[in-house]
């Protein structure tokens, strides 16, 4: 067993933002990430070297703090103001992204650049899944947390921050045995959060196909397609016309269990019906399933969860669900908020 100061589970924007902030406040975090790269739903993949954002499509900021972060990103990597042209009058998943005074930004190398920037000075262990948690208790006092890794190793940390989706954090907590009472008391709060799935299709089109004039399509009439993103419009240099089609939550939920070919075909056919037959004839299709793509805005919580147990162990929960701003900005701010609370409220012990 090895011992660390602060364990952060999940290298999405919330986990990275928390880790960087708590590090700047003198603590020593280690971030554990199941995937091969950082960013979580702030995700970019490469198809024949061309970046494609198949999760979050662009970054937008309203708060001073996040806008400063976006400015720092734009100073480091090539970014453009994006999107410019919207087709359709449907409601975007975050309507406030299009409000006045909001900065909207797309890095040419993909939205995951933001995660890479946050992770730069951090100890991040990739491809390391936490399979279970245990409270390191002595009598009624909980002194820390034991994290069982997929490698079979065990790590012990005094402070634990869960930066997963809410169902992911909940799953790890409920499986704890024994479950400390102050931790059990957090579960009903997590149960208030509703997440929405999003079935996604990446479609690349043959050379010679004229790109659409819009960056973003929000069809108000479609029961299946929520958004179509003109992803290649964000790229510089040689590029192939690539679109990302995102399904509506209801359609996504109804088709989660079905084979990707069936729902991907439905979404492409619907996109073709909306914007022209060429959309139904991609040369390459990659489906992606986001089981927890986003948080139902009506179930958004206002602050990260934080408990300090008798014995000194501390547990925090962050994420886009735990800040009123929601989305990437909410994830980022919830990480900052938890780091702030952990370092300024050291004496509040639960129960």
């Amino acid at each position: 067993m090895s011992f660390i100061d602060v364990a952060v589970v999940g290298a999405g924007i919330a986990g990275l933002s928390f880790a960087r902030e708590i590090k700047s406040r003198g603590r020593a975090p280690v971030v554990f990430e199941r995937a091969r790269g950082v960013g979580g739903r702030c995700a970019t993949r490469r198809i024949d070297e061309q970046p494609v954002d198949h999760g979050v499509a662009f970054l937008h900021g309203r708060s001073e703090r996040f806008r400063t972060e976006l400015e720092a990103l734009a100073a480091e990597v090539g970014c453009s103001a994006w999107p410019h042209v919207t087709a359709g009058r449907g409601l975007p998943c975050q309507p406030e992204a299009f409000g006045e005074g909001v900065v909207r930004l797309a890095p040419a190398a993909g939205v995951s650049q933001l995660a890479k920037q946050l992770a730069r000075q951090l100890d991040v262990r990739l491809e390391t899944e936490i399979t279970s948690l245990r409270a390191a208790a002595r009598g009624a006092a909980v002194e820390g947390w034991e994290l069982l890794l997929s490698s079979g190793d065990t790590i012990r940390a005094k402070t634990l921050a869960l930066a997963l989706t809410v169902p992911g954090s909940r799953r790890l907590l409920t499986a704890m045995d024994p479950l400390p009472e102050p931790v059990a008391a957090l579960l009903p709060v997590l149960d208030l959060v509703r997440t929405l799935p999003c079935l996604t299709v990446i479609a690349r089109f043959p050379e010679g196909v004229a790109p659409p004039t819009w960056d973003l399509s929000l069809p108000e009439t479609s029961a299946t397609v929520h958004t179509i993103l003109h992803d290649s419009a964000k790229r510089t240099g040689r590029k192939r016309l690539t679109l990302v089609i995102q399904a509506r939550p209801r359609f996504s939920r109804d088709h989660l269990a079905q084979p990707a070919e069936s729902w991907a075909g439905t979404l492409l056919a619907e996109a073709a019906a909306l914007h022209g037959d060429w959309l139904g004839r991609p040369e390459l299709v990659q489906p992606h399933i986001w089981r927890q793509a986003r948080v139902d805005a009506a179930s958004q919580l206002a602050a990260p969860l934080f408990v300090r147990l008798r014995g000194g162990a501390a547990l925090g929960i962050v994420g886009d669900a735990l800040h009123p701003a929601g989305g990437i900005e909410g994830a980022y701010l919830s990480g900052l908020a938890l780091a702030g609370r952990m370092t300024t409220q050291p004496d509040r012990t639960a129960h």
Binding site: A185, V189, L192, Q300, L301, A303, L305, H323, P324
Partner: protein, 240 residues
Amino acid sequence: MSLSNAEIDAILAAEADHECAGFGAAQICVKIAAIADLPTRFGHFQAIAFWNNRDGKDHIAIMHGNAVGRDQVPTRVHSECLTGDALGSLRCDCRDQLEAALRGIARHECGLVLYLRQEGRGIGLLNKLRAYGLQDRGLDTVEANQALGFRDDEREYSIAAHMLHSLRVGSIELMTNNPRKIDELTRYGVRVSNRLPHIIPPNEHNRFYLETKRDKSGHLLDARGKPHLPEQGESVHVGE
């Protein structure tokens, strides 16, 4: 004597150009955008509406007499509570606190109730009802209330301080039973010259809570088993 039309026009004209770095960590800046007479069943007031640079929540100062530029103004800071203030909910003491404050300032030559509209997205009515829902199931915890944004006190004091600054109030006599509120306001540059105990007269609806609260501390349950919460952050002083 309330503000005359000429005084109102002068204030609105001066405030139109107001711009400052804002108060508190959230750097909230407010400015007076409308003033109107407001006769109520508790006395005759003027309502002074403040625009703010952060969200669509228009905070108001309810003024009795003319407190602009005055010292030692009896002042109460009240946080909006739709269920209590408007609907008369028995789950909290907000309505009693508000009524006592309005009647209280009406007895003085001048006075202010700063009515703060806190119920916005994420820290709002919806989340309050979700917190009540948890309470109904016996799942009421401090942490749950915090995650639901139930009462964000820091924000209240910075906005209240800015409002007093805009009204050029030199010092206040704060109507509160909570000395911590004085410290918080002082932190934002408000001179608190005196504390006025906030005394609530009993009536048929609140007598049970008030008398029990006076004798005990902590949560109370009403006849339907619902917790009755001191949401305005006050201990209770009962008057006749």
